[in-house]
């Protein structure tokens, strides 16, 4: 399957806590993108990971691409209310211009 499964679906945490969300597939993909979507807006690209085992950091966000390139994780340190939103992972289907998006993790950070 070329589906992307994200977990958890929903997450509500207190400001200052750490969290990790996951994106998994049974098939290998060449690259993976993470987006954040805030209410009433379109998704905004956060990062693209390409190499197996790659780790990228964006301020308090750490993105990791699995060694086998079948999974990825997003870790947020000391979450803030501004981190609230829908986190989506996406991959491009090989040989096409189509992107498949996961169902997302809806994060709410309480002040």
């Amino acid at each position: 399957t070329q589906l992307l499964e994200q977990s958890p679906q929903f997450l509500s945490i207190q400001e200052g806590e750490n969290l990790t969300v996951y994106c998994n597939s049974s098939s290998v993909f060449s690259s993976l993108q993470w987006y954040r979507q805030e209410p009433g807006e379109g998704p905004v690209l956060l990062v693209t990971v390409v190499t197996g085992g790659e780790v990228k950091k964006l301020k308090r966000l750490t993105f990791q691409f699995g060694d086998a390139r079948k999974d990825s994780s997003l870790h947020i340190t000391a979450a803030q209310p501004g981190d609230t939103g829908l986190y989506l992972c996406a991959r491009q289907l090989s040989g096409t211009y189509k992107y498949i998006f996961g169902t997302g993790t809806r994060l709410k950070v309480l002040a």
């Binding site: 060449s30 379109g42 998704p43 211009y97 998006f101 997302g104």
Partner: protein, 116 residues
Amino acid sequence: GAGVSQSPSNKVTEKGKDVELRCDPISGHTALYWYRQSLGQGLEFLIYFQGNSAPDKSGLPSDRFSAERTGGSVSTLTIQRTQQEDSAVYLCASSPNMAGAQETQYFGPGTRLLVL
């Protein structure tokens, strides 16, 4: 404009009516995508345009859906004889070059369609 714009931002229509949704991509972007996002769901690919090439329509859910892109810029998504299950947010995205790995898609704010 600096980003992708879409209009209208909200549309309420009655079942059976036709609707047109508009997308203005970022100037110079050659690739344009339409997606549908149902409540609480991820994005469902609908159609892709790249320059003057024939569009990839493989994601359109039925023949009631069609889209065109005039002059390689503005795109219109048309839904004929709307059904209640068409209610969703319709998102448009553009990207600057030939679509490929690591391409960044820039999304508009979406059109929220409600079919009564």
